[in-house]
Chain length 233, copies 2
């Protein structure tokens, strides 16, 4: 399975965004460690599931001592919910950067940098946005989030935190989708049309869990992009 | 969480279907035990996840000795894949029974017996079929299948069997959807339209994992039923 190296493309941008604060080399190192732990946690969840993802395993993967990891994230729940949220934010930033002018400008995304799977070979406008939205649900972030959700459904300690996280990430994804698709939510039915698209994307992500479903997915996405385009006017 | 008692409604029908064979009381008892184990296995998976679902736990829940359970299902993998398949078949039978004439006859489903959540208060035709298809993904069967899929993504022993099971159940669900919706797959795009609907249903099932998403889901389903009706002509 692929790692989470794709998130690295969003890094320089985020780093720049954070650079407003005055920082010393020590804080820089601490931030770098923090980020390494978060990325290792998502990769670990995606590959080994919740049962196989402990703070120790993540610390080792990130090349950090267990004590240092616990300094950053006191509990296992802290580490993994923070990790899924962090990577989701990175993906949101990358997605917005890919379509700086929304579906209108979706033809001219050269140089915007690579959100995973954005190679939609010549597809432009709304279909390109739909394809990029679906791509949010087929990489290691979705896989990690899925493991966290499923674990949370059986673990009382995890459930409230993941429920809250899911709601927050879901709202943000919906907001981005509406914006990039140029959807007018004041028109009756438009909100539900966009929500249904994101539900479909989530279902496509699940269908991709055990087998490589890319061929079928591309055909479904192409067809639903047409239906969506007609529905959104 | 709800149990799997809703599957019991399909039982008399299936029993009748099997009654072609000559049976003694001993075979009857064995079949009843077999079925009790399968239903207990699905309920157990849905409630406790894969990690909490062992043959012993299921045997106890079914009121059967561990030895008897192992006589029916030699391995844990045998038991749980058989269970998900059995309940999926029961649901398919119940769904077909609910719309004996497909979307055309979806107004006259009285007395067809209760597939879970089929109380779509007055909704008829294709929207009723869409709602019933989505309901396949929001009950304990979907929850159980989800736990099995996610476990299979990390367990080499389980993966090939669950992959094969998922493909089989997926094909059958697609076949039922095409039939009940009266969709003509010889028309370009129709196949992908129906697939996308089932992907959306799967995504809606996932969205229902941690919270009761019924309100939002009903609105999304109502809107996409309209879009789908237009798309299918």
């Amino acid at each position: 399975m692929d790692g989470v190296s794709d998130t690295a493309t969003a890094e320089p941008r985020l780093k720049a965004a954070r650079a407003g604060q005055e920082r010393g080399p020590k804080q820089d190192r601490s931030r770098a460690t923090h980020r390494r732990l978060l990325e290792a946690a998502v990769a670990c969840l995606a590959e080994h599931g919740w049962a196989g993802s402990t703070v120790s395993v993540v610390a080792e993967r990130a090349g950090v001592s267990r004590g240092a990891a616990q300094h950053h994230f006191p509990t296992r729940e802290d580490l993994f919910t923070a990790a899924v949220e962090y990577v989701a934010e990175e993906r949101s930033v990358a997605l917005r950067a890919l379509f700086p002018e929304g579906a209108e400008g979706a033809g001219g995304a050269e140089g915007a940098g690579g959100a995973e799977g954005a190679g939609n070979g010549g597809v432009t406008g709304r279909p390109a946005v739909v394809a990029a939205l679906v791509d949010l649900y087929t990489g290691p972030l979705f896989r990690a989030a899925l493991h966290l959700w499923v674990a949370a459904s059986n673990e009382d300690q995890l459930r409230p935190r993941v429920t809250e996280l899911e709601a927050r990430v879901g709202r943000e994804t919906h907001r981005i989708a509406v914006e990039l698709l140029g959807a007018d939510e004041s028109v009756p039915g438009v909100r539900e049309t966009v929500q249904g698209l994101l539900d479909m994307a989530r279902g496509l992500g699940l269908a991709n869990l055990l087998t490589d479903d890319a061929g079928r997915r591309d055909r479904v996405v192409a067809q639903w992009a047409v239906l969506l385009d007609e529905a959104l006017g």
